[in-house]
């Protein structure tokens, strides 16, 4: 029940441009009281103008993220080298070749072009990230809103079971189920990761629904005799949307990491499919065998693709949370 906002807090719309109507007296204890060095810390200060702007780095991340989505959607139409074309069909291909004009990121141990495999890999990562978190939100989010709205028995039962599942490490559950459900495919991985994300989504959505549901305007709607449907869709959902969107983004990043872990353990999407995790898994065994003299490109580029995509998604999610979360500053 710690999710309730303090009773004396002010509730402006999360999107309000104007400063709150009342002075925020409870902030005085956080005001810098002569620190060791002078602090001109906007992060801890309460500069309204600064909090509204998202900063140039945020937009860089958005552009990079959009680029990834674009590549994932239209990889077929970009006239790339066929990511499956290997020395098996064309023996003249350079094997383990370094970056050249025709193979920007070099070629792997089977002569496949790493540049086009990295671009096609975005497709696997993003479809798993978005597909799975969407399943998680459809089931976990619905249950979370329902449990927090109904309270009582259904809430108690659902919460206890979700928290029990949450205590168990997801990776063991995923490994076990990828071992059962053979042959594993992209869709199955999406479904498994989606199910694995349900408890976490449930917890966040339930918490913010509880907080939203205890506000005065929900009470007012109830008093006026609004239907449950209307209260949920017109009063509660718009208010939990900011939290939901930022958690959605962070969830995408988390699930991409989890899929990569499965791929590195060799149980994700089957081998010839170009995915970053698979490329790392295949490359790592070659990278270090001293006799082959393989260059860094086998794992460097998929690794960098992972880093940059995750960084941009996390930064977008984090900034959005900071931007929308009016309660954070009041804690």
């Amino acid at each position: 029940m710690t999710d309730y906002p303090p009773q004396n807090s002010i509730h402006p719309s999360p999107f309000a441009q104007s400063p709150p109507a009342f002075p925020r007296e409870d902030h005085s204890i956080h005001e810098p009281a002569m620190p060791l060095e002078t602090i001109d810390d906007t992060e801890h200060g309460f500069d309204k103008e600064k909090r509204q702007s998202l900063g140039w780095f945020f937009w860089c991340c958005v552009v990079y993220f959009a680029l990834n989505v674009f590549v994932a959607l239209f990889a077929n139409h970009l006239h790339l080298t066929d990511p499956y074309m290997s020395t098996a069909t064309n023996p003249n291909l350079p094997v383990n070749g370094g970056p050249t004009g025709s193979n920007w990121f070099g070629t792997d141990e089977l002569g496949r072009d790493i540049f086009s495999r990295v671009l096609y890999g975005a497709r696997v990562s993003l479809s798993i990230g978005f597909g799975a978190i969407t399943i998680g939100f459809l089931i976990g989010g619905t249950l979370g809103v329902y449990a927090a709205f109904r309270r009582k028995k259904i809430d108690a039962v659902l919460s206890v079971s979700m928290y029990t599942i949450l205590a168990f490490p997801a990776i063991i559950f995923l490994l076990a189920f990828t071992a059962i459900w053979k042959p594993i495919s992209l869709n199955k991985i999406i479904i498994l990761l989606g199910i694995a994300s349900i408890p976490a989504v449930y917890r966040v959505i339930r918490g913010s629904t509880l907080a939203a549901g205890s506000r005065e305007f929900v009470m007012a709607a109830k008093v006026q005799g609004a239907s449950d449907f209307r209260i949920i869709f017109k009063e509660i959902l718009p208010n939990i949307l900011p939290t939901a969107i930022s958690f959605y983004m962070i969830g995408v990043a988390t699930l991409i990491i989890l899929e990569g872990a499965l791929a590195v353990l060799g149980t994700s999407v089957p081998a010839p499919t170009p995915s970053w995790g698979n490329m790392i898994n295949e490359g790592i065994s070659y990278i270090n065998s001293p006799n082959t003299g393989v260059g860094p490109w086998l794992v460097l580029f998929p690794g960098l693709a992972f880093c940059l995509l995750l960084l941009s998604i996390n930064y977008i999610g984090d900034k959005l949370r900071e931007h929308f979360d009016v309660t954070e500053g009041k804690l």
């Binding site: 060095e37 810390d41 990491i257 353990l265 690794g303 880093c307 996390n314």
Partner: protein, 292 residues
């Protein structure tokens, strides 16, 4: 117990191509697998109390000896990475918190946020090139694990990359928590008071600021433990270290229920014991907490 839903059965794994229904039934009886699941589980629990994890169905070796081989590298990885990450996070966070939003703080913040989003297995793969190929650290390549009995230095060299990768992962979390907490502690009125009395900065930090700030750090270590253990398992797989993670993945694919159960039990116990110890430590550092 959910693990029993896995397809395949130990009898298939042991008998292989010589599998017949009669042979399997006999073997199941011999191993006690014909008993109901609840009976199997209870008898297993009874043995575990005396630290007898039983026999591995498949390799016919005792699980305790498997664990005895697998635990040392895993524990070594976890302990060393925690020492390194804490040893770095505290001074770096102090330096950043003393001058918040100045150049060093901004750089450290940006770097830690960037690293926060990079999974351990990517860090490991990206570390191989600089460490083994440029610095030429001996024995640091993949699948080159050397047990500690063959010399401490070679052992450390062979574990260098996973240790560094795990340290980076933990360092980032600890740095962010400790920096944020220290900044708010340094703004408390009693620190201003101590400053005005002319107490040196070193004394203020060590006597007045670190103690309240370390409470959040210690509880973060506890929360981090479970994630760290699974992270270590994956790191072991990537770096081909024959630790608990490797046994776990092997046990899932066999399927080897006994070993799997034993590993999950031992890991969970260690995590719970460490968390309990950290809770006691928190109570010692801040007696107000244990009084509640």
């Amino acid at each position: 117990m959910i693990i029993h839903l896995l397809p395949g059965s130990p009898s298939e794994a042991i008998l292989g191509s010589g599998w017949t229904p009669q042979g399997a039934a006999q073997l199941n009886k011999q191993l006690g697998l014909d008993q109901p699941l609840v009976t199997q589980y209870l008898s297993w629990l009874g043995h575990v109390v005396t630290l007898n994890f039983g026999q591995d169905y498949i390799t016919q070796t005792s699980i305790a000896s498997t664990l005895k081989v697998a635990l040392p590298p895993t524990i070594e990885l976890v302990v060393l990475s925690q020492i390194i990450s804490l040893g770095l996070a505290i001074p770096v966070a102090t330096f950043a918190a003393l001058r918040p939003n100045k150049l060093f703080d901004k750089l450290a913040n940006l770097g830690s946020f960037g690293l926060l989003s990079v999974p351990t297995y990517v860090i490991i793969t990206l570390l191989y090139i600089p460490i083994t190929q440029w610095l030429n650290v001996p024995n640091s390549g993949t699948a080159s694990y050397v047990p500690m009995s063959q010399g401490l230095l070679t052992n450390l060299e062979s574990l260098l990359i996973p240790i560094v990768a795990l340290s980076i992962g933990s360092f980032v979390v600890y740095f962010r928590v400790f920096r944020a907490d220290l900044i708010s502690t340094l703004q408390e009125e009693y620190i201003t008071m101590a400053r005005s009395k002319g107490i040196s900065r070193r004394r203020i930090l060590f006597r007045h600021a670190y103690r309240p700030s370390s409470v959040a750090l210690i509880s973060t270590i506890g929360v981090n433990m479970a994630g760290l253990v699974t992270g270590t398992f994956i790191a072991e797989q990537v770096a081909a270290v024959p630790g608990v993670g490797a046994s776990l993945v092997g046990a899932i694919f066999q399927p080897d229920y006994q070993l799997l159960q034993a590993i999950v039990l031992v890991t969970a116990t260690i995590v719970i014991v460490v968390n309990f110890g950290l809770d006691l430590l928190t109570g010692y550092i801040d007696p107000r907490i244990s009084r509640d």
